[in-house]
């Protein structure tokens, strides 16, 4: 099962910072329509499809949104100040292109002073080509959302470089899992939810989990692959398979779910690794604390350079993540507890 690059490219190039995920949600609905599945979109924009109607309620989430920014101020010369939406890796900002929701484009930079300015968000500005404030105000009203634009490219060894792989690769994985299982006889009621605002507050995951009140919640998201030259502190590697999350800063996965996923991976001979991530969190952490608490786990796709406009993943990891989730959903996740 080779990677469907065309679909992934469509997903990653879609515009969707937290709070403005419509284009990505539309793409998801369109893909599901091709499978003759009807989607429901809630008031916040989270989009969901349900397979099966017996057993325990499962929620499988991947988030639609990507990190981005929002314009906050225009100076007298027409340069734009902006604030990050989600955690922006500021070291990677210089020279980046910004695509705004209204079609305006710009480039990020800072004054060329010597010595070099310290990297601080407030020292950056965006140049949209406007000559003065009046012109800029027309092109880009305050409060316009933007994203860091970069095309998807293929690198060696089946690796992919693109913006927004966090978490369009999770969206891609869920779409493929749904496709495989659309006509399967499931022993659980599986709610696939494409959530909004994970990078901002986890609003989509919190409200969806509240509405569905599942017995088990699973988030499919990216995790740091700590295998570049320093290669020191973490266990995760590219090409070593999906990472079964044990903990991150937002979640300690339910021990029984952890055991369940490890045993499924072993039984189906799917390469996998275990994840202890010191920083960062996912929708799984948010969902785990909804209502009286929901046993939760994260399944992660190892990714390099997360939260920069050029994130890198391995195709084989994606394929193995799909395999793991298909095997898990087919095998009655509800029995894990």
């Amino acid at each position: 099962m080779a990677l469907d690059i065309k679909l992934l490219e469509k997903l990653t190039s879609a515009f969707g910072p937290s709070g403005r995920e419509f284009a990505v949600a539309d793409l998801v609905s369109e893909e599901l329509k091709k499978m003759k599945l009807k989607t429901k979109r809630d008031v916040h924009g989270s989009t969901r499809v349900t397979l099966g109607n017996s057993g325990k309620k499962i929620l499988l989430a991947a988030h639609l949104d990507e990190i981005g920014l929002i314009s906050t101020y225009i100076d007298k010369d027409g340069f734009i100040k902006a604030s990050p939406v989600g955690f922006v890796y500021k070291e990677g900002l210089f020279g980046n292109r910004v695509q705004f929701e209204n079609g305006t484009w710009g480039v990020i930079s800072s004054e060329k002073t010597y010595p070099k300015p310290e990297i601080e968000m407030h020292k950056f500005f965006i140049d949209i080509g406007a000559k003065n404030r009046k012109e800029a105000e027309k092109l880009l009203p305050i409060g316009t959302f933007g994203v860091f634009a970069r095309d998807l490219v293929k690198a060696a060894n089946g690796r992919i470089i693109s913006k927004a792989l966090d978490d369009r690769i999770g969206v891609y994985v869920l779409l493929k899992v749904i496709k495989e299982l659309a006509s399967a006889d499931l022993k659980d009621t599986v709610n696939f939810v494409f959530t909004v605002q994970e990078e901002f507050s986890g609003l989509g995951a919190a409200t969806s989990a509240f509405g569905i009140a599942p017995h088990i919640a699973i988030a499919v998201d990216v995790t740091d692959s700590d295998d570049t030259r320093e290669n020191m502190y973490l266990n995760m590697r590219l090409d070593s398979g999906p990472a079964i999350k044990i903990m991150d800063a937002s979640l300690i996965s339910h021990p029984k779910l952890k055991e369940h996923f490890i045993s499924i991976a072993k039984k189906n001979k799917i390469p996998h690794q275990l994840e202890v991530l010191p920083c960062g969190g996912t929708d799984a952490g948010t969902m785990s604390l909804v209502k009286k608490g929901i046993p939760s786990i994260g399944i992660s796709i190892p990714t390099r350079y997360i939260h920069t406009p050029s994130e890198m993943i391995s195709s084989t990891d994606v394929e193995n993540t799909i395999k793991l989730l298909v095997a898990a959903v087919k095998g009655k996740i509800g029995g894990a507890l």
Partner: protein, 334 residues
Amino acid sequence: MELLKEMLQKPSISGFEKNLQEFLVKRFTDAGLDTNVSPLGNIEARKIGKYPFTILLDAHYDQIGMVVKKIEDNGFIRVHNIGGIDPNVIPGGRYTILGKEEVPAIAATKPPHLMLPGEKDKPIPLRDILLDPAMTRKELLKVIDIGDPIFFAFEPFAAGDFLVGPGIDNKGGLWILLAIAEFLKNFDPVPTVIFRSTVQEEVGIRGASTDANDIIDLAIVIDATFAKQKGADEDRTFPSDTLALMFGPNYSRKYNHQLEKLAEEHSIKCVREIEESVNGTNAYQYSISGNHATVGISFPVYSMHSPGEAVRMDVLKRISDLIKYFIQDFKGGQ
């Protein structure tokens, strides 16, 4: 003291509380209480009273620890903290990795002879500390794996009036809950009394956040606070032989005053602990959740979040007595 010692020897690292959970469920059930466990692991035991007023006693039952983050090719283990840990207390210590088997390990240190100038004075960040189980990676992977919790292997001991050991925060609080549960065996309270032991307090009040919205009337939250120690802020530390009542805009003035009066009547030493803003305790979580009054009662602990936490047993006893008197005196309609 034996009961507290027994609990101290049962690891309950946040997220991995199963071991102590079974113990507590049994204790509460044995005390004749109707006991349930929530999806996240919070234990709730209740005794129904005659009067429609519910007092909830909360003490978290998780403790800080570490977790295996990576196993190096040479068998050394990289760790990550669970809860707030000062990396200063780690090097040279003895640990138990709770895998398929219990694996002992020490935190490797660099001999002082080999330290470079200035190195001695700087703490080693936790990410650079390596545990040495004296096994090869291959041997290790048979018995432990990434994500296994790590426990301070530190035998608790009594020293004068004190009991010393890792996890006094908040097994001291559990001791108080169990003492009151024992008391209710032979006493029918006027109000309903709920005992709740919550999980994952040390990683961000997660357990309490799922249950703090329940409909109750008064939450009494029991946890450790700081005992007076050289070099520590005077206004944030308390004499080790007193109990501390949390005072702040979000804590109940009415019940704090009642408890202070009750303490005075029974000659129980009691001081005020000013918590005027947001903090990471279960008491804070309860105070901003649901629609009930909240009070926080703390017992001072020396060397908090180290393997050698120390508490005076008589303070724990006095807190349990104070709450017993409060329940005994509760007549309803007030």
